[in-house]
Amino acid sequence: MASALIQRLPYPAQLLVFILFSSVAVLGFIVVMALFMIWFERKIIGHLQSRIGPLHVGKYFGWAQPIADTLKLFLKEDIVPRNADKVIFTIAPVVAFVSSFMAYVTIPFAKNLVAKDINMGILYIFAVSSFATIGIFMGGWASNNKYSLLGAMRVAAQIVSYEVPLLLSVLGVAMLAETLSLTRIVEAQRNTWYVFYQPVGFFIYFTAGVAEVNRLPFDIPEAEAELVAGFHTEYSGLKWAFFFLSEYANMFIISAVATVLFLGGWLGPFLPGLIWFLLKAFFLMFIMVWVRGTYPRLRVDQMMGFCWKFLLPLAFLNIILTGLIMVLAG
């Protein structure tokens, strides 16, 4: 009935309703996913590090931990440094978040469960998620703090650098699937997941993806032991929460795109497609949390060296090999 009502509306109104509906759905998903990730991460790290608290808050499975964390963030004082650029300081977390938000539009959660399936899906995701760099850099720059400035410069260097192998690693998949549409890439994997054809590409994508979302061992822009907290040193309360909401949102994007490109997206037996998709994506997020509990942080020059001297040549090699094999195999 609702769809019949919407179809009677003029086209601009239909578009508006569609945008509103998609936005609310995506925002709802991000918030619920972030709450779940707080619990998920605290719980896994709790097991890895023998922490007692996060395993028991609320008695059963530590379910009250995300609520406690969220309440704490709401109650924290909102501080803006006296000499900060107040406008830019305030809008920076929103800019960082909006870029992640926009990327969700093209992710196919299941067959026919995608807000907008466009034929340049991969390029669109990488293009809009790059905006996060600007948001984070704005925050670091506007804070009027040398540590934040150093963190902001690290962000720019890191994300811009790792974007290159990240994109190159995807080319192998695009060559195999002969499309850039995420939905069609998933459908092309009906027989075999691309992770078996492109293991190197998957490794490069996932490693560079972890760097893109500033997770350990690449959390060099925030590096609390060196730069206090880098770009978000001066942020507190909800503004800080927005940065971390976008971090979790980006983590999910990286995992979701990896699922689509390499792990067959929603494809899988017995269970509904959406469940398969979420299981695969959260498995990759689990690996990110596991790595966080195991590795120390790289140094900034080591991180850049790893990108330019190892990942980038490997990505080129992967493309050349994929092309050669495709030509030879006819």
């Binding site: 023998s50 540590y147 150093l150 060196e226 590795y295 120390p296 080591q302």
Partner: protein
């Protein structure tokens, strides 16, 4: 600090602007009370100058206003991560003035407490150091095992951080019945725990990259800066007071003194890990051979009045040579007390190690020194 001493680097078309950066005192890696003035070009450090004094409590002056006995609890507050070792060094100095003999049981108890303290202190170091490198997991592991040691201490003297346990001539009270079995149980499981730390860190590629060749302190520099403890041994100098200027009953125990080769952060890490294993060896022998008997000499005056003179007592504390120099005029309190803290001296070598390194390296180097600011500032 003069930032104008040498011109900024000119790299091709770009002239690099120098930045003066206050690292600390409110910085997680400077333990809240140390300030390091940094001159940086980008992230590269041109000059680093530690600025201490944010925690100064005039403890040496306070010692002159209190009786000898009243000062023991204050030694706990110097290096609060190794309070037992501080008790130990101070009572050794005063005992040397008093010329009293400590019963063998008390000697054994002292060694047991000191070696447990070494393990507990190295565990805190391991956690803080690796946390500075961005790994939080070893910190939690270190604190997990430290809890067992604190339980043993609590069982013995009722305190978990500041023990006030050593006395002139012995210790304040005997170890309780459950102590020896509890300590044996702890050390029997501790082998596996050290292996676990090694598995997590020694074989970790990123940890190796962050520590090998970072913050090298040559053998010559280590000696000329009067560095002591694991830092000195990591630079290849086999010097350990427990072997080279023996005190208490240490000569009765078999243990090795681990040394490093290059004096970098990696060597300092390896030396401390190995020291935990060696402490465990000493503990095994001491717990097996602990004799029965008194814990204090039978005739000890209620008010201590050492004869006129001066004495220096020192121990191999977890961070290096910890010494107390006490001057007596025959009264009830020292007329002068001077502390030789290993941290303060070791921290002096920081500038020699950090030149031209990155900010991330500075954090690693500072962590590898193992500073406790209570001891640095006194």
């Amino acid at each position: 600090m003069n930032t104008e001493n040498s011109p900024p680097a000119n790299r091709g078309l770009l002239e690099v602007e120098r930045l003066y950066l206050n690292m600390g005192p409110q910085h997680p890696s400077t333990h809240g009370v140390l300030r390091i003035g940094l001159v940086i070009e980008g992230e590269r450090i041109v000059d680093a100058e530690p600025d201490v004094g944010y925690l100064h409590r005039s403890i040496e002056k306070i010692a002159e206003k209190r009786t000898y006995l009243q000062f023991i609890p204050l030694t706990d507050r110097l290096d609060y991560v190794a309070a037992m070792s501080n008790n130990f060094a101070y009572v050794l100095a005063v005992e040397s003035l008093l010329e009293i003999e400590v019963p063998r049981r008390a000697q054994y108890i002292r060694v047991i407490m000191a070696e447990l303290q070494r393990i507990a202190s190295h565990l805190v170091w391991m956690g803080a150091f690796t946390n500075d490198l961005g790994a939080a997991t070893p910190l939690l592991y270190g604190f997990r095992e430290r809890e067992d040691i604190l339980d043993l201490y609590e069982m013995t003297c009722g305190a978990r951080l500041t023990y006030n346990y050593y006395r002139f001539g012995g210790v304040s009270r005997d170890i309780p019945t459950g102590f020896v079995p509890g300590a044996k149980k702890f050390i029997s499981g501790f082998w596996k725990k050290v292996d676990e730390y090694e598995e997590l860190l020694t074989e970790n590629e990123i940890f190796l990259k962050r520590t090998k060749g970072v913050g090298v302190l040559s053998r010559e520099d280590a000696i000329s800066y009067a560095v002591s403890g694991p830092m000195l041994r990591a630079s290849g100098v086999k010097w350990d007071l427990r072997k080279d200027r023996p005190y208490s009953v240490y000569p009765e125990f078999a243990f090795d003194v681990p040394t490093g080769e290059t004096g970098d952060c990696w060597d300092r890490y390896k030396v401390r890990i190995e020291e935990m294993r060696q402490s465990r060896r000493i503990l095994e022998q001491a717990l097996d051979g602990i004799p029965e008997g008194e814990i204090l000499p039978p005739k000890l005056p209620r008010t201590i009045r050492p004869k006129k003179g001066e004495a220096y007592g020192s121990v191999e504390a977890p961070r290096g040579e910890l010494g107390f120099y006490v001057v007596s005029d025959g009264g009830t309190n020292p007329v002068r007390l001077k502390i030789r803290p290993p941290c303060f001296v070791n921290l002096g070598s920081l500038a020699a190690m950090v030149h031209n390194c990155l900010i991330a390296d500075l954090v690693a180097i500072l962590g590898s020194i193992d500073i406790v600011l209570g001891e640095v500032d006194r």
